[in-house]
């Protein structure tokens, strides 16, 4: 208990850093991942912006990011991080590579949720003279909403895991704390505490995500 109280300031700081990293990259995965996933979907065969070249290019870009293990992606992006953020250390810097990974990850989930949308409903909207924008807004995003929310839950949870890795190169956060105290200094109780924190965090994201998705699902 004493060690826990002694650790509390460090722990709170680390927790705040984790929240920052996850929060920032979560934000970007929504605002860039959805358009990117949408773009992949509507440039695919048989849809209204069918474009083989652009579709292949977008797919390739995502695959490159997705097939690079996160720790390596993190290191690869360090120079770019330096240019964009001005530093490679701290949660803000780590958020950059986390965002890149999360956007690519979520874009694929968005694409696959959109693929689940009944083609008949898209056809009906087309038959009534809807513009592509109206189809995207009122049919695609509306019909895929439960899937999009479930995808966000998965992305959020993956981000918690990734953010722990970002700790290794100076991102800070709960993962960083676990490695410094729990691994290098053999303080197993710190390790346990951080793991419990991560479990609670993941649980909260999961329960919240499921609740919202169930509410949105009218099927």
């Amino acid at each position: 208990m004493d060690s826990f109280i002694a650790l509390l300031p460090d722990l709170l700081k680390a927790f705040w850093e984790t929240l920052q990293m996850v929060g920032i990259s979560f934000f970007f995965s929504i605002f860039l991942g959805i358009p990117l996933g949408l773009f992949l979907f509507i440039t695919d065969k048989g849809l209204f912006w069918e474009n083989k070249a652009l579709n292949a290019l977008g797919g390739l870009l995502i695959n490159v990011v997705r097939s690079t293990p996160y720790v390596i992606l993190l290191v690869l992006l360090l120079p770019l991080t330096q240019i964009l953020i001005g530093t490679t250390i701290g949660p803000l810097a780590a958020s950059f590579s986390l965002s890149v990974a999360a956007i690519a990850f979520y874009a694929r989930l968005v694409q696959s949720s959109l693929c689940e949308v009944d083609k008949g409903v898209i056809e009906a909207a087309t038959a009534y003279g809807a513009t592509p924008f109206q189809i995207i807004k009122d049919v695609l995003l509306s019909e895929a909403l439960p899937g999009l929310i479930r995808g966000l839950t998965v992305t959020g949870i993956s981000l918690v895991g990734y953010s722990a890795m970002a700790g290794i190169v100076g991102g800070g956060g709960v993962g960083d704390l676990a490695i410094r105290f729990g691994y290098y200094r053999y303080e197993t109780d710190v390790m346990v505490i951080t793991v419990v924190i991560l479990i609670v965090l993941v649980q909260i994201v999961q329960v919240l995500g499921d609740a919202i998705a169930t509410k949105a699902d009218k099927k």
């Binding site: 008949g120 009906a124 038959a127 009534y128 003279g129 109206q134 049919v139 509306s142 909403l145 009218k218």
Partner: protein, 335 residues
């Protein structure tokens, strides 16, 4: 008026070109209920989709009210589509929107005002008998109710044309009849030109006034529903009609029966006359009815009877001649 002029739709694969619709010509008059019937893969679904250009014809012209729309795209295409309603086999409602919002959807698309929508949607739901379901989500509705929502949605922008793509194929018999009745009512009330495709002759019989029969991309026969049913010319049509009139005798009868089996088709004017009892009295023979059915198409009766006459051949011949004079067709198919 809708005119399909020499329309062909070809699909290309690596090996071959497949013509789903092959040089089809159809004219559908204002206010008509026009049926297109054929087995699956006959190209009827592709054909109906050329009317609102969901499927662009490879060649040929689509005329709507003497306006060639074949090359329309973008804004002009969307504008013409606002005036063509469509309903689908699987209803295609937006699951995440309420019945109200589904019906309002075409109006929102067309840029109608909130007030206009708030006025029109309850009217439409009243028309299809779903006023109490206004704020329910589609998943809570039965198949028939979903199709009613589909119909209300299709009528939202006061279209002059209603396309029906197998509207009852996913429904049970009772619901099918209710939906067909609703479509007929709407046709009479609003005078909307209705084009319907189906693989069931029964559906055609119940609501259409004119029918085109499609087989492998080609319209093989076309005319008034009553004429097609009473005198199918093309072998494919004969098969379709025979299937719905469905007069099949158990094979045992062919073995046991004495004399001839004759199939008699009555048409409108005479189906109500006592032709058979007249024949019995005139020729003094026994005529036994083995199978029979009288249908009412377009409110005109159409009867098919399978008769067994046991007499010597010359007399049978006389009876056949007698019947031929008074009925639509007589066919000896046994003995």
């Amino acid at each position: 008026m809708v005119k399909i002029e020499n329309v062909t739709v070809a699909f290309h694969s690596k090996e071959a070109t497949f013509k789903a619709v092959n040089a089809v010509n159809l004219t559908i008059q204002e206010g008509e209920v026009f049926g297109i019937v054929g087995t699956s893969g006959a190209g009827k679904s592709t054909l109906i989709r050329t009317i609102n250009l969901l499927q662009k014809p490879t060649s040929g012209t689509i005329w709507i009210d003497n306006e060639d729309i074949t090359e329309y795209s973008g804004k002009s295409l969307r504008a013409i589509r606002h005036k063509i309603g469509m309903i689908f086999q699987h209803f295609n409602l937006i699951h995440t929107k309420t019945v109200f919002d589904n019906v309002a959807f075409p109006m929102v698309i067309a840029g109608a005002s909130k007030e206009a929508i708030a006025r029109r949607v309850p009217e439409l739901l009243d028309l299809v008998g779903l006023s109490d379901k206004m704020h329910v989500y589609p998943s809570k509705l039965s198949g028939g109710q979903k199709q009613r929502v589909g119909i209300a949605r299709a009528l939202a922008n006061n279209p002059r044309i209603l396309l029906c793509d197998e509207p009852t194929s996913a429904l049970d018999l009772e619901t099918t009849n209710a939906i067909l009745e609703l479509l007929k009512d709407i046709n009479i009330k609003l005078g909307i030109t209705t084009i319907l495709i189906t693989h069931e002759m029964d559906v055609i019989k119940k609501i259409c006034t004119k029918v085109a029969v499609m087989d492998r991309g080609v319209v093989v026969e076309m005319g008034n529903v009553y004429d097609i049913f009473s005198r199918p010319q093309h072998p494919f049509t004969q098969k379709l009609v025979a299937h719905t009139l469905n007069l099949e005798l158990p094979s045992r009868i062919f073995k046991d029966v004495k004399g001839s089996l004759i199939k008699v088709v009555y048409n409108g004017d005479r189906a109500e006359e006592p032709i058979l009892s007249d024949a019995i009295r005139t020729f003094g023979v026994n005529i036994n009815v083995l199978h029979g059915k009288i249908e009412y198409i377009d409110e005109k009766p159409l009867g098919v009877l399978i008769l067994n006459i046991d007499a010597d051949s010359s007399k049978i011949e006389q009876i056949i001649d007698y019947l031929k004079e008074r009925t639509a067709s007589v066919e000896v198919f046994h003995g």
